[in-house]
Symmetry: C2
Subunit: 445 residues, 2 copies
């Protein structure tokens, strides 16, 4: 489907894709004073590098330069001299310091010309939003000769993808807007399918999202596969609370039916078992909500040390109210007694951070909200409130469902916020495991 | 104090600082396959650019390269040819692909030699953590000749700051480790004070943190000051929910007592009024908690559409339990009636998203938790649940205190998560304004 679409798009450029040289090396140029001065955090280069890698193109350089035309001109020349594909981000706006299109094309020896379609689109955008189209905005309709126009559905600046010769070498240049909300969809929808065709490699990929195992643990579990080196590549990408395991393979032989690749995928699935929370593009909270809705279960929370973080993670997923009824956040014992019916004897005898209190809180939430599932979190997020038996990071998580009534003790490390986050994500994962009938057992992280 | 310390440190390098050339242009080189492949988000370059700017040094280029020695060598040569100060981040570890120290110094014509102090520190680190010091780790004790050693209190790799001539031009090179947890303190504690001395400019700065006004609004309010151009610079730095207004001035004349600067600061304070939530290094949630504790007030929340986000923002601040008692998160009307005593007549007549329900929820929370203050949030975070009169983004925030009982309607834009965040931050700001006796009035954003 994707390849069909991109072939159809291909017709828009003057030459058929077969005549274009393939891309071996790539380079990213990030422009803008707001980036070079540290005002804004650049996230585009990471996004582009990662996405390019997925289609078999490796980025070798990322250069960040100011809006100064001379600096940009030199960066462009250098990039053209050493890389097959150059992608720029930023500087396509209507103001005077938006010079990327003009400077990058001048350095490439490409002329700009007014694109009637672009101009019409820009004028329609202003008409629709009832604003006046300033002469400046017409500037955004000047495009390099022979370029494929990349439509911008989230702003006025169109992007461009163009091919040229630089000192006898074939080069590909993509000019993208700076705001990630414009760059990401433009790259994904319009540029990536074409680049995929120009990548010297055809790829087969599969992605696992893992919770509860670090990158080094995953590497240990998959060491033989990593070392085997039969052309199948395993890469791990760690972000805050998950690790993505990306399996990829270059398809070099048209006869290759992917049997070996499938074998790898199944082996990884078998080894990482219940640590895999999804094989789709979704977060842990999305996965949990999805499972609850699928199985027609409802849930409520009783949070103490996490102060609403678990609730807000579930609550941020669209459609949360289908399964999530509500929570009580009890920052003191009175509330635990009043709203969650935690017996004062339990609090006195075992303390607020204990198995018994965690279970009583979960019972109370389930009863009050009349839900199928409930989860409680009570612990010491720090920096104060610790004791020798219960150091900072001690957290009890209680889980009650129609079939389970258990509480687990964890010892999380880090600062207050980190401990709260670890506890909330761990609770989400416990719910997922309970819903998928996995063991709930690992108690350390 | 700072300047005294840095003068004392100055003695450690072979030449007195007066003999070093001042820094006009700076460049950052980020190394590492994990960055160039998109595995890890680089945040060091933004941090360094921003910090350097604060001491009057402007970054012109940021280059990101892989661990390939040839790529790094060329990036180093290019940087030495065009910038006075070059700061590298990453590649100081013990493994084979950690080549930054060796390659950057080779490109600079600097020899490495074993530093006895560094070696002792590394060996002591391993002894303390009861691990074996591998021969690889000795590599980390090789330092450029004549370098000032920058101690690493959070890892094994020391940094270095060294001066050399490159094609007849004086250059400064700082080699810093890649992990932000090591780079940030090393830069702040050891490098920044020295760079400050080498900066051609002496600076005076003052910072305001603003909530509720965008960068363009702030610029409009301060336009005459921005244009006046009496040597006082105003820069705005927008992050998720606040804008930092940084006022800075080069102190060129020793007679200058800062009277004009003080005048600017006071004018800005007068113009931005209650939009300034702090003039210190703290978040809005910290400020709110601080005010509550100072004034000995307690608070509780009733959250509906924000699902615990407001609670978790306050709850993530150390010491939150001194003022924050708890919350009820009511994702359905039953809970609003049961826990918050919202009259079913109010819900039926006015609906869950209304002034009346917001006030009743806040009353209920204040009563249940027996606090001085309470805040309620009820709205339509989307994507579903909207009606023509109450589109997605309609949010009512109720505030009840010993002296105030009011509710405000807001219309927030964006996706579900963004609406939830805007509502939670707006609620925090309402509390701050109530505590500081500012008008609560602005109703749009």
């Amino acid at each position: 489907m994707t390849s069909k679409t991109s072939r159809e798009e291909e017709k828009n450029i003057s030459l058929p894709s077969e005549e274009y040289s393939l891309i071996d090396t790539a380079e990213i140029i990030i422009t803008g004073n707001e980036i070079i001065s540290g005002k804004t955090q650049d996230t585009n280069s990471r996004f582009l590098a990662r996405e390019l890698r997925k289609i078999g193109i490796t980025v070798h350089y990322i250069s960040t330069v100011s809006d100064d035309p001379q600096d940009l001109y030199e960066a462009a020349k250098l990039a053209y001299s050493r890389s097959d594909l150059i992608i720029s981000s930023g500087g396509l706006g209507p103001t005077e310091d938006d010079v990327t299109m003009e400077v990058m094309c001048r350095a490439a020896g490409l002329n700009l010309q007014l694109d009637a379609d672009c101009l019409a689109t820009i004028e329609a955008y202003f008409a629709r939003t009832k604003r006046k189209c300033a002469p400046n905005n017409r500037k955004q309709a000047y495009m390099p000769q022979g370029a494929r126009i990349l439509k911008n559905h989230f702003g006025t600046a169109p992007g461009a993808f163009v091919h040229f010769d630089y000192l006898g070498k074939p080069r590909h240049l993509a000019l993208l807007p700076g705001p990630p909300g414009e760059l990401v969809p433009m790259f994904t929808d319009s540029l990536k399918p074409v680049l995929k065709e120009l990548s010297p490699h055809r790829y087969r990929t599969h992605s696992f999202r893992v919770y509860g195992l670090g990158e080094s643990n995953i590497e240990m579990l998959l060491l033989d596969l990593i070392k085997e080196n039969k052309g199948i590549n395993l890469a791990t990408y760690a972000s805050s609370y998950e690790v993505e395991v990306l399996v990829s393979e270059v398809i070099s032989d048209r006869q290759d039916n992917g049997a070996l690749f499938q074998n790898y995928v199944e082996t990884i699935r078998r080894r990482l078992k219940h640590f895999i929370f999804t094989e789709k593009e979704e977060t842990l909270a999305q996965r949990v909500l999805d499972l609850l809705i699928q199985r027609e279960y409802t849930i409520a929370f009783a949070e103490s040390c996490t102060a609403g973080l678990l609730s807000s993670l579930i609550g941020s997923v669209p459609g949360a109210s289908k399964a999530f009824f509500g929570s009580v956040i009890s920052y003191n014992n009175d509330i635990k007694e009043k709203f969650l019916k935690v017996d004062s004897g339990i609090l006195e005898h075992f303390g607020a951070v204990s198995r018994e209190t965690a279970l009583a809180m979960a019972d109370g939430a389930r009863e009050s909200f009349q839900t199928d599932f409930s989860v409680s979190i009570t612990g010491i997020a720090g920096p104060s409130g610790a004791s020798p038996e219960k150091p900072v990071g001690t957290v009890w998580i209680g889980l009650v469902s129609p079939t389970v009534r258990e509480a687990f003790r964890f010892q999380f490390s880090g600062e207050r916020k980190r401990i709260q986050e670890r506890a909330a994500f761990r609770a989400l994962d416990l719910i997922r495991r309970a819903l998928e009938n996995w063991p709930l057992a690992e108690k350390e992280e």
